[in-house]
Chain length 531, copies 2
Amino acid sequence: MRRFATERAKKLIFGSLLSRSAPSSPLCSSSSSSAAAAAAAAAMSSTTITSSPVSVESINPKVLKCEYAVRGEIVSHAQRLQEELQTKPGSHPFDEILYCNIGNPQSLGQQPITFFREVLALCDHPSLLDKDETHGLFSADAIARAWQILDVIPGRATGAYSHSQGIKGLRDAIAAGIAARDGFPANPEDIYLTDGASPAVHMMMQLLLRSENDGILCPIPQYPLYSASIALHGGSLVPYYLDEAAGWGLETSELKKQLEEARSKGINVRALVVINPGNPTGQVLGEENQREIVEFCKNEGLVLLADEVYQENIYVEDKKFNSFKKVARSMGYGEEDLHLVSFQSVSKGYYGECGKRGGYMEVTGFRADVREQIYKVASVNLCSNISGQILASLVMNPPKVGDESYESYVAERDGILSSLARRAKALEDAFNNLEGVTCNKAEGAMYLFPRICLPQKAIEAARAVNKAPDAFYALRLLEATGIVVVPGSGFGQVPGTWHFRCTILPQEDKIPAIISRLKAFHEAFLDEFRD
Amino acid sequence: MRRFATERAKKLIFGSLLSRSAPSSPLCSSSSSSAAAAAAAAAMSSTTITSSPVSVESINPKVLKCEYAVRGEIVSHAQRLQEELQTKPGSHPFDEILYCNIGNPQSLGQQPITFFREVLALCDHPSLLDKDETHGLFSADAIARAWQILDVIPGRATGAYSHSQGIKGLRDAIAAGIAARDGFPANPEDIYLTDGASPAVHMMMQLLLRSENDGILCPIPQYPLYSASIALHGGSLVPYYLDEAAGWGLETSELKKQLEEARSKGINVRALVVINPGNPTGQVLGEENQREIVEFCKNEGLVLLADEVYQENIYVEDKKFNSFKKVARSMGYGEEDLHLVSFQSVSKGYYGECGKRGGYMEVTGFRADVREQIYKVASVNLCSNISGQILASLVMNPPKVGDESYESYVAERDGILSSLARRAKALEDAFNNLEGVTCNKAEGAMYLFPRICLPQKAIEAARAVNKAPDAFYALRLLEATGIVVVPGSGFGQVPGTWHFRCTILPQEDKIPAIISRLKAFHEAFLDEFRD
């Protein structure tokens, strides 16, 4: 596999991302939205009241500009097809829609970890704890844990707003979990509990971005929360490219080059986003590579925004998750040396509790007066949901050897993780067996990001219907098989290359059928458009 | 009581709120934060990298500008005192801190509604539904309701991300509840479930505000979520004054005057915020008044942002809650006539489930292409938490006559509401019995907003320590009694008048002691500063 990114192509994209009202970026495939953004920008110069109080021409152009492909056009189309299947069975050449667009394990049948749900139920309805029958229904350690949690909640009131950073006793448990993971201490005052990781990312973008002269270095391909959040908060995305030919490797020479180019254009680069394990790429960074990244951020005065939500999702023997905090501390760097934010979520890992909206960020190295500002922004929304807070404390402090639930917990956890590893391998092999498709290994996370070589005829057919070629491919795949994937253009990719993101989450017994449907579709597609 | 707002005073405030970088507004008492904002504005013009990657001089000045007094300086001080009480009992002239700063009923001992918690626990751990013992622990209608809810969740997966507007079947239940409340139909496609009402308010501000040339008409006094959200999204707050002498009445002549004045300054006023029942004022609007407001918004092309989170909190016989949607529909106005957003939350009412972070907005009258943009912004954060979604469906569809839980549910609900009414009356009377204090009735919501006539000497003493006089009073109250209230300057007030907001939420048996502590403090304060 050759390295795809030519210097010329990179410059082209870099320029358009930095321009003030980019008509099209590698992250946005929809031409209509950029046209609307241009119209809105034109409308902004006038204060005339439009005939309707609110129209797309008169709303915030940052909202128009933001795109979130993971729930974009393809997904809306899939929902329509699903309704058609319900109202008119047999109307499509498949029986069900398979949502491989989003890392939402329980929607595809993954079961929750029993211990976690026991504790949540007891905390939701604490009067159960006073009843004898409860001992027949719940494990002893779940009951004990529920008591422990209630005891750290003022008044045992699970229905009260908490401290805006989250319940102190739960932050203590999370800090202890981080310390056990890293071998370095963690401070509960550094933890901000949030409704999933997304609001935490928004908070940091809101804090750092003053105008489009402020930039954030983001990987390409990236998880579109970052491009969406940067757009909503009015900053500039400064892309750096992951090297597909090197297993989506992250080279600090590339970071340096893009940083300097941005600075030469007057962009004040505030932070570097690193997603490890990678989304959508699935790569897991090596420790030496992480040390270089830490050194780079320290030397260049950048905040390191470390998306570590897939920290439990590692599928290969030779890779291991290391938090950036552990790496920085093991290099001898303390609080004063590095501004580091680590994001974690209850939605990923083996737990996959997306609907609970729990998560946290650990904020280290920031001055006290800046932390006060972060606290203030958190306080405007009062607090994150208490069940999510409790669950965040549980995933960072699961049952231990000797606890009644320990063995069943380990069996559930390892069953899920080993099955995910098998599914990742089966899908990776299947993609690599398709003509014109190459796919890097999913070392971690929940996704594969195969590259597809599309025939010129397919590219022209896509253009004729005003679609990006990968979106055209994904739509055809959906219509033929019911499988929903996200076009690479939603994540960003080297211009002229085409990809899609597919989760590894369908249940294992469905994988063979998915592979044969994929294969049949792909062959028919190539036959239709072969040059 | 005379009408406080002089024309001159109003203009003064109005001008400062509309100016681009107001050094002080009636909503911000902290002088340090505005100085920091000015410093940040100066720093913005330069792209020089500061020595520290992040300092208050280099963060987003909108973050600096935003204030949220409900969890501001007084509360931080109270938390310090609480820690001192724990580490050094007897160190202060009181045994406990009484948090009357925030509408957080369960933190002060209010018990959750049993039926709601039963359903939540069963949905958190659905395998309970298969066990025989469960019938001994849960009411039959809670079990039936849990099944109903699970059946509308795809795959019964309460741990999956839902549709970004919320689970369709729960939106159906909420729409049915709205229709039953109003006598007019509601469309589940208009419902957007959110983590409490605050994120919904942010979403609307983000949508409507393009620059500081866009304004939002807000009551003064207001709930500081509005001023904070407008500041964070970079718009202008256009104040209109509630008439304290007329029981915090809302006059459309005042709305009209302020609208015209804002327009004459080039402000594009996008929306009107109405909080009904009022926060912090406790007033409940009459239906005729609401009709005038609807007419005003329709004629002036304003979005009506109706904060209706206290819809269940009415304490007087002669007032009744009417939703703005019901009022508009009963005037014969349909979708096309009015842009209306109604906010509701599970945090208020008799349920007071603040920690669950559930809520919704009902968005009517918006064009389909704008609704797509709202959906897109919602989708970037994936969905609100599922327990909060379930609870929102429960509060809009509680047990009915004939259900096993009905009688105990009604007893719990009415017990809470009648106690709140008694507490409101007792505190109102107590405030009105204090020298130089006048207090309107709390017809609804959870607050009293008494006006205090402060002696000139107290005002000077406050200035000497760089505090707003009402903040000075509130701090002295806290230090003498442990009672936490929020100074009126956090909500806005007619210049030269001083108020504080006090919740009616302390448990009933504590009210007499609170009143005598208040009285003793107030007399001593006046004696100290009497002119």
